[in-house]
């Protein structure tokens, strides 16, 4: 009798717990987050049902995009405008929150959104590997799906979408080596990255060294810029003055910084410090302003990646997460978009180069 009573109580408690979980993780946007709802589709679907169910699944879903910087920044504007168009078409409520390059502000925005359960899917532009770990963890516990773009987070979230930075750095460095050898230039290069101790800078340096070290090239110095053009320009001006023609290329981690480096190199050539066209400027990504600098002969080549593809992939991933019905944080994927080397000869024929904000 005692055993039966214990079994009955245990069963009742389990049922209550499960019921509680179900209520708490309900897929509607009115209550908790998107995670843990029913799967939208089964094995088969009627032709017009697919359209109807896809819209129903996304209608009213609250999607927040929190980039490191939004206003006036082509990279994130490109992602944001793609998301705005796609989520708008699906009837979802899409909003962008702009921390204006302030990591503390970014963390506060995300904390607030998660605490208020004000979103179903968070699309985050992580500034560095460890920065948003707690926020992604808290979002998962609140049933909010997280899609991280550009920089992977040590707490992965549901999905990461970005460029294969190390591979891209290797590809553009190979190109730089080829150019240096064609010119018979010294086997010496300088790296110009961001803060230096952040993941983006480390991946860039790793990719560059992967190619340069076995090829017998020397990295004369690695200058750090905090992603600021003023510091990139100062570094390039100082290093060019010191090395003169004893260096064959700058490997710059950020395309907009590369423009300032290109200006410094062009200025040094104009003042007779170096021979014209004796130092190449290589980078990753190809903003439309970088393309202008390329056409003006200030920079040499870039590993351009599919910026718009990142925004599109984030939209698709968000839909898959909502339709899949799996609880937030129960699946984890990392996916890369395409990249290719562009220079003056092919930049105007390459669709993924010269991205714009809209």
């Amino acid at each position: 009798m005692k055993k039966k009573l214990t079994a009955l109580l245990t069963a009742a408690a389990t049922a209550m717990t499960l019921a509680g979980c179900t209520v708490d993780r309900g897929g509607s946007s009115a209550g908790g987050g998107a995670g843990g709802g029913k799967q939208t589709f089964g094995r088969n679907v009627q032709l017009f049902d697919a359209h109807k169910k896809t819209h129903e699944a996304m209608k009213g879903k609250r999607i927040a995009f929190v980039p490191i910087l939004y206003k006036g920044y082509n990279l994130t504007l490109n992602w944001g405008s793609t998301m705005e168009r796609a989520f708008g078409n699906l009837g979802a409520d899409f909003r962008v929150y702009d921390p204006n390059f302030d990591t503390d502000k970014m963390v506060k925005i995300i904390n607030d959104l998660v605490a208020r359960r004000a979103v179903d899917v968070l699309i985050l532009h992580n500034p560095d590997v460890g920065v948003l770990t707690k926020q992604i963890d808290a979002a998962e516990r609140a049933g909010i799906h997280t899609v991280v773009v550009n920089m992977v987070s040590s707490r992965l979230g549901d999905a990461f979408i970005g460029v294969d930075s190390v591979h891209a750095a290797e590809d553009i460095t190979r190109r730089a080596v080829q150019d240096c050898e064609k010119r018979g230039a010294p086997k010496r290069m300088a790296i110009i990255d961001g803060p230096g101790n952040d993941a983006a800078s480390l991946m860039w340096s790793k990719g560059v060294h992967h190619v340069l070290d076995p090829a017998g090239y020397e990295v004369v110095t690695t200058a750090h810029t905090q992603w600021q053009n003023a510091l990139a320009q100062q570094a390039a001006a100082s290093i060019t003055q010191q090395q003169k023609n004893n260096i064959c290329a700058y490997m710059v981690a950020y395309d907009l910084n590369a423009i300032a480096v290109g200006d410094a190199v062009a200025d040094a050539a104009e003042r007779g410090v170096i021979r014209p066209d004796s130092i190449g400027v290589y980078t990753m990504a190809a903003d439309t302003r970088w393309c202008d600098a390329l056409r003006a002969g200030k920079v040499t080549a870039s590993a351009a990646y599919d910026v718009q593809g990142v925004g599109e992939a984030a939209v698709v991933t968000a839909q898959q997460l909502v339709q899949g019905g799996a609880p937030a944080g129960s699946t984890h994927t990392v996916a890369y978009v395409s990249h290719t080397v562009v220079d003056r000869s092919n930049v105007d024929d390459t669709t993924i180069a010269c991205y714009k904000g809209r």
Binding site: L69, K71, G72, Y73, N74, N100, F101, D102, P195, G196, N197, T221, T222, A223, H224, T225, Q226, Q228, N229, A230, L231, Q233, Q234, A235, A237, S238, I239, Q241, Q242, Q243, K244, L256, I259, A260, D263, A264, D267, E270, V273, D287, R289, D292, A293, G357
Partner: protein
């Protein structure tokens, strides 16, 4: 007792002797030692080309520091200078990108800088708002206002054929133009502070505000003048920054290093934050020191945190040295109302 004290020649301690030396010479000496260390440890450091390069890169923050020094000498401080410098430069480039003529854009933004200077002056001199808070607020208003109303991009390039780009290209009498312009600003500021009535009264006001006022000096208009000079020099420094750089970013974080550098140069140059003490020669020496230090930090490839550590350490050392050489007394203690 009194007569005996006057007659007896005081035996000056080493600290007192050092305190009597013009701090500009002291800082120039330290800069020379730093150059020597750089020459020994870093290839290509002590060459004519590199010296020209570091002077060129120091021109913008040197000009900014001169304006800051003029305000600080009068017992004020101006935290809006970086906002005015970069904000106005960005807005000028934004207007030019939208098709406005360069000179129209410059005139418009010179007007903005003038207004910020006058507002700063009125807030501090007439409404007696502490300068620290008044200029912090106007700086934020300038940055925010320009960002919201005038900018739609994060990055603007400077057209190669513009007058602003000419500020740092070519040379005048064999001196690179950026260095020549900065040098001219230093000379004019030195003449203003040392030889004009307004300059002398500015310093007197910083030394003892109440005495200057009771002696009939127009202290309030002079304070306004100081902030206007600072704002207009900030505008010039902003154009110099953009000219040397060739482009400009509009993120808020890009303002901080410029303000920090201008304040560091002023303090290292021996301009007392209590007002009244300091020289333009000192500011020049401070600018040279920071220029050499920045150049060495870049050439040595130190990481950003390590660079921040060095810069912060240098600033602390400069403030501590200043406090040791010029200990607080009752008079200077009263001036910590900034």
């Amino acid at each position: 007792m009194g007569v005996a004290a006057v007659d007896a020649r005081p035996d000056l301690s080493p600290r007192d002797r050092l305190a009597r030396v013009e701090q500009g010479f002291f800082v120039l000496g330290i800069t020379a030692l730093l150059c020597l260390a750089g020459a020994v440890t870093t290839d290509g450091f002590l060459t004519g080309g590199n010296v020209e390069n570091l002077l060129r890169l120091s021109a913008a923050f040197g000009i900014l520091a001169v304006g800051e020094a003029v305000v600080i000498l009068a017992k004020g401080i101006d935290l809006s200078v970086a906002g005015v410098a970069l904000g106005c430069a960005q807005a000028t480039l934004a207007f030019m990108a939208d098709g406005m003529s360069e000179w129209q854009a410059i005139a418009l933004l010179a007007g903005v800088a003038l207004v910020v200077g006058v507002v700063n002056g009125i807030l501090v001199a007439y409404l007696e708002v502490p300068a620290l808070f008044a200029t912090l607020a106007t700086g934020l208003l300038t940055i925010g206002g320009i960002d919201i109303l005038l900018l739609d991009q994060n990055f603007y390039s400077l057209p190669a054929s513009s007058a602003i780009s000419e500020l740092s290209s070519g040379s005048v009498l064999g001196v690179p133009r950026a260095i020549f312009v900065a040098g001219a600003v230093f000379v004019l500021a030195w003449l203003f502070v040392s030889y004009t009535v307004a300059g002398r009264l500015t310093r007197a006001m910083g030394d003892n505000f109440d005495t200057a006022r009771s002696s009939g000096a127009p202290v309030r208009p002079l304070q306004v003048l100081g902030y206007v000079v600072s704002a207009l020099l900030a505008l010039l420094a902003g154009y110099m920054t953009v000219s040397v750089q060739g482009s400009v970013q509009t993120t808020v974080t890009s303002f901080d290093p410029l303000l920090f550098t201008a304040l560091t140069v002023t303090v290292i140059g021996g301009v007392s934050l209590s007002g009244g003490r300091g020289t333009i020669l000192g500011v020049l020496a401070g600018a040279l020191f920071v220029g050499v230090l920045n150049n060495l930090l870049i050439l040595r490839g130190l990481s950003s945190p390590l660079q921040d550590l060095v810069r912060g350490g240098v600033l602390i050392a400069a403030i501590a040295l200043d406090a040791w050489l010029h200990p607080r007394d009752e008079e200077t203690a009263r001036s910590d109302e900034l």
